[in-house]
């Protein structure tokens, strides 16, 4: 008899996500539904406002991947107004972007994803001496690896559990048969969970230096507001730059001596997950980290391109301004399109939200009806996966030696073929490998900034188009980036110095999208198919695959509506 498994809320993500999976009599997932259960209305709110303010509004789409919407937004306005930011501003933005990638990926691995693989209760049985030996073997140069250190931690954990107040760790799937790590590996992972929690607040200070705060640092249309003055103590100067360099050096140690070794160690216990959770096989990256201005897509450290059907020998170009490439559908989304329209490019996008789901409280959604607040974006009609795996594959397939080297090294260490990348484990591993690249690029961008300052250039903003009187009466633009979770683009239409239309298609909308009119699943749904589940009441396997995408639902379920029409009509069925 078929079983329906509902996971709502999916926790350890950003925002509100519901997953329903239909299992066959063998406990294997045969169909799946991903539903975004939140809607906020940001694009409607943006209409009529000053385009120079848009970054601040859109940045509040998400506080986990903070900065990425601000970056996409200032780029969209600059694209519309033909502003070219000074080299220093571009480098500073690259530094902030890479800082975000590194910090966010580490948080994802340790605080949002690790507990899918690490059994905290098993860690109670660990022998501290054996744990220290393991830690020193896994990462010989990481200093926190003494017997006493792990003994203290084991005592802490034991007493914490004995206190009877398990807090965040209450009622999870501890002891589930799918957990495979030995107690010592679990204890080591718990130690690193706590160390990563302490460290993440350090690296992010780079945002504070340039943007004044984190979460939600400040951006500026035309460049950056953080002026540089090497002869003063009230702007970016040698002390600030040294601070940044130290933070980058510390980040390198964390990534190379803790994150990557942990990733490979954990992965080695779960080889079966290199054949589960592959999903669509279609991968897309817009690219980022420009080396020669955002307009030169050939000079991105993260390359741009599309891969279909896992065909790594053919990386297809993409154009975000082409009305026939990125389009959104609403066949299974709680929105209505005008008569005769099935899919729309974001510049022409419309939204009339129309909830037609069950009246809350409800038990289940209907996969044959509309079931999500997310639309279904498609590229030339194809469902796409975006994110670190897509970026690494596009980089790899584009012939980037940096990408090839880290991927081949990891595949060698795990003794698995390249096809292992197309999986839940591949997705999780790709995020780590990308972090390794990013932390090195971070230092490279820092060096570029210093070189530029040495050459006598301290400009951080182009103010030639700051005043609205200098703008055309009508202008359209788009701004893209690679958020930690994948390809992100904002489309803006400015009319008479105000926002006429603002459209955002975010990574988690690509990944978490519901089915389209042709019945093609979104990436999450597709990745869940054919997953065997040991215990449907404790759906650990679903969490593993969904978390491998690093869902961000506040991003995905903002709003796609430009016209501010009468917003919702509720039909309760």
């Amino acid at each position: 008899m078929a079983t329906r498994v509902v996971v709502d809320p999916v926790t350890r993500i950003e925002g509100h996500l519901r997953v329903e999976a239909m299992l066959d009599e063998h406990g294997v997932i045969k169909d799946a539904m991903s539903s975004g259960t939140m809607w906020r209305g940001l694009e409607v709110i943006l209409k009529g406002r000053d385009p120079r303010d848009a970054w601040a509004f859109t940045e509040r789409i998400c506080g986990v991947c903070t900065t990425v919407h601000a970056l996409a937004s200032v780029r969209a306005v600059e694209n519309a107004l033909s502003v070219k930011v000074p080299p220093n501003a571009e480098i500073i933005r690259n530094i902030m972007f890479l800082t975000q990638q590194v910090q966010d990926h580490v948080i994802h691995f340790y605080h949002l994803h690790a507990l899918d693989w690490v059994d905290i209760v098993s860690a109670l049985k660990a022998d501290p001496a054996a744990t220290a030996a393991l830690a020193q073997k896994v990462s010989p140069s990481w200093p926190l690896a003494s017997v006493g250190y792990f003994k203290d931690l084991a005592t802490t954990l034991t007493k914490f559990v004995q206190s009877g107040q398990l807090g965040l760790f209450q009622n999870a799937y501890w002891g589930h048969p799918a957990y495979k790590l030995p107690p010592e590996a679990n204890l080591m992972a718990v130690a690193h969970y706590l160390e990563a929690l302490k460290w993440q607040k350090e690296i992010i200070k780079i945002h504070t230096i340039f943007g004044g705060k984190n979460p939600h640092p400040n951006y500026l249309v035309g460049g950056m507001a953080s002026a540089i003055s090497m002869q003063g103590d009230n702007a970016i100067n040698m002390e600030r730059l040294n601070y940044i360099k130290t933070l980058i050096q510390d980040a390198m140690a964390v990534v190379e001596q803790m994150y990557i070794p942990d990733l490979l160690a954990v992965a080695s216990f779960y080889p079966e997950w290199a054949a589960i959770g592959g999903g669509l096989g279609n991968y897309m990256a817009y690219g980022d980290v420009p080396e020669n201005g955002i307009a030169d897509v050939t000079k991105f450290r993260m390359p741009r391109g599309v891969i279909l059907n896992k065909n790594l020998s053919d990386v297809q170009p993409l154009d975000l301004a082409d009305a026939n490439q990125v389009q959104e559908e609403v066949a299974h989304s709680w929105y209505e399109y005008p008569e005769g329209k099935d899919s729309l490019h974001p510049w022409d996008g419309v939204t009339v939200p129309k909830y037609s789901g069950p009246k809350p409280p409800y038990q289940q959604l209907d996969e044959n009806a509309k079931y999500s607040w997310l639309k279904s974006p498609r590229w030339k009609g194809n469902s796409m996966e975006v994110g670190p795996l897509s970026r690494m594959l596009v980089g790899f397939a584009s012939g980037s030696t940096e990408h090839k080297d880290v991927v081949m090294e990891a595949l060698g260490a795990l003794k698995v073929p390249a096809t292992a990348l197309f999986s839940t484990l591949g997705r999780t591993a790709a995020r780590g490998l990308e972090t390794k690249l990013c932390v090195h690029w971070l230092m490279a961008e820092y060096d570029k900034l210093i070189a530029n300052l040495k050459a006598g250039d301290s400009a951080v903003a182009d103010t030639s188009r700051w005043e609205p009187s200098s703008w055309p009466a009508d202008a359209k633009g788009y701004g893209f980036t690679e958020a930690p979770r994948g390809a992100l683009c904002h489309w803006i239409h400015i009319k008479d110095t105000k926002i006429e239309n603002y459209q955002i298609v975010v990574p988690s909308t690509w990944n978490a999208s519901p089915k389209d009119a042709k019945g093609q699943h979104g990436a999450y749904e597709s990745a869940l198919l054919n997953t065997p589940m040991a215990d449907p009441k404790r759906p650990l396997e679903i969490l593993r695959t969904i978390h491998s995408f690093d869902p961000c639902l506040a991003c995905a379920s903002h709003v796609f509506g430009p016209n501010g029409e009468k917003l919702a009509e509720i039909t309760v069925r």
């Binding site: 607040k201 004044g212 984190n214 509720i570």
Partner: protein, 365 residues
């Protein structure tokens, strides 16, 4: 089972973590200092942490962006690990908790029952009220109903951030989802508003540790904000204030004034109308704050700040002088008529400025 009987005190837990008496006392002293309290209260803190079980906290997420949670884990003193493992029992938080699905919701219901009247409800985000609340559902229930249900037996409610305190971005015009802050939806409970987008990390942990330490809620202003963190304007404590008084302003981005760190008032700074601790505590353990990094304050802890723009348009009136003004005495002065004295003060600084000749700095090569 009685909740008190089975719960270890913070000190019990610390002790079992290998923290000796001396380090514990040092911790209490530092905590007092972090809260800006006199050394005489240290024994009180010691007593509180020695005898009380960890405070159960249910942390709900509604319409929000999770920036408050992210800020919370950036706290430097105390660090998030200490708060979560040693001070409170964070029994429900969908961003961080290990459990998911119905097991997660069971946790919430268990705490509501076992610790009725004893737990604190922390709310991040707000509730959409339009169309029966369908714009945010969790486990098939509306966030609105979950919020009301969970608040019913809470000892107190903490409204984290501007979403929960005053509506923030999704409540900006035209507020398509009918998003409402917590205090408009919950009555009959003490509510602490901790606004900011997000609030400063140490303000968040400061509010929590104050409650733990003294067993009472902090003193609040008329907007429900803790006076200890929201009692003064950013402008009044801003290190760039002398430039304002001297009439030295950034006139365009990246100009000579920007390189010298002059006042950002003319670039739209909301520091003069924003009550927050940014210019004292600063952000991310004192590294900087928006003005310190050259961008004007956008006033993210004030009511309706999204609709009080555009952000780069200068404030038409500045409530000056009177640095001792509090939100209660000043109230809506910014929105109201300009004070005569303000205009006079500002004109005088303008005059002073025009008589000064500032030599442009030559940027070193």
């Amino acid at each position: 089972m009685d909740a008190e009987a089975r719960s270890a005190s913070t000190y019990d837990v610390l002790k079992s973590h290998g923290v000796d008496r001396r380090r514990f006392m040092k911790f209490c002293t530092m905590m007092a200092a972090a809260l800006g309290l006199d050394a005489t209260v240290v024994p009180q803190i010691v007593n509180a942490l020695e005898t009380k079980p960890r405070l159960p906290v249910i942390w709900l997420h509604g319409l929000e962006c999770t920036c408050c949670s992210e800020s919370f884990i950036r706290s430097s003193h105390p660090i998030a690990q200490d708060v979560v493992l040693n001070m409170i029992s964070l029994d429900y938080d969908d961003t961080l908790m290990a459990a998911a699905g119905f097991q997660a919701e069971d946790n919430r219901r268990r705490i509501m029952k076992d610790y009725a009247g004893q737990y604190v409800l922390a709310v991040e985000g707000n509730a959409p009220t339009a169309d029966g609340g369908v714009y945010c559902t969790i486990g098939g229930e509306t966030f609105l109903s979950i919020l009301q249900e969970t608040a019913a037996n809470a000892k107190a409610v903490i409204a984290w951030g501007s979403c929960a305190s005053n509506g923030c971005v999704q409540a900006a015009k035209p507020n398509p989802t009918g998003a409402k802050p917590v205090h408009e939806l919950i009555t009959g409970k003490p509510i602490i508003n901790v606004p900011g987008c997000p609030p400063i990390a140490e303000v968040m942990t400061g509010v929590l540790t104050y409650i733990l330490t003294f067993g009472v809620l902090p003193e609040l202003d008329r907007y429900g904000r803790p006076k200890m963190f929201y009692g003064q304007r950013i402008h009044d404590k801003c290190y760039r204030r002398p430039f304002f008084d001297a009439g030295q302003f950034v006139e365009t981005w990246d100009d000579d004034g920007a390189k010298k760190g002059w006042c950002l008032y003319k670039m739209g700074c909301r520091g003069p109308s924003t009550y927050n601790s940014c210019s004292t505590f600063k952000w991310n353990n004192g590294v900087s704050y928006p003005i310190g990094s050259g961008h004007p304050c956008i006033g993210c802890s004030e009511e309706k700040f999204w609709d009080n723009g555009p952000f780069y348009e200068r404030l038409s009136s500045v409530p000056l002088p009177g640095i001792e003004s509090t939100p209660d005495t000043v109230g809506a002065v910014v929105a109201g008529a300009a004070l005569i004295g303000v205009g006079a003060h500002f004109i005088s600084t303008e005059v002073r400025r025009s008589t000064q000749k500032n030599s442009p700095e030559q940027e070193g090569k």
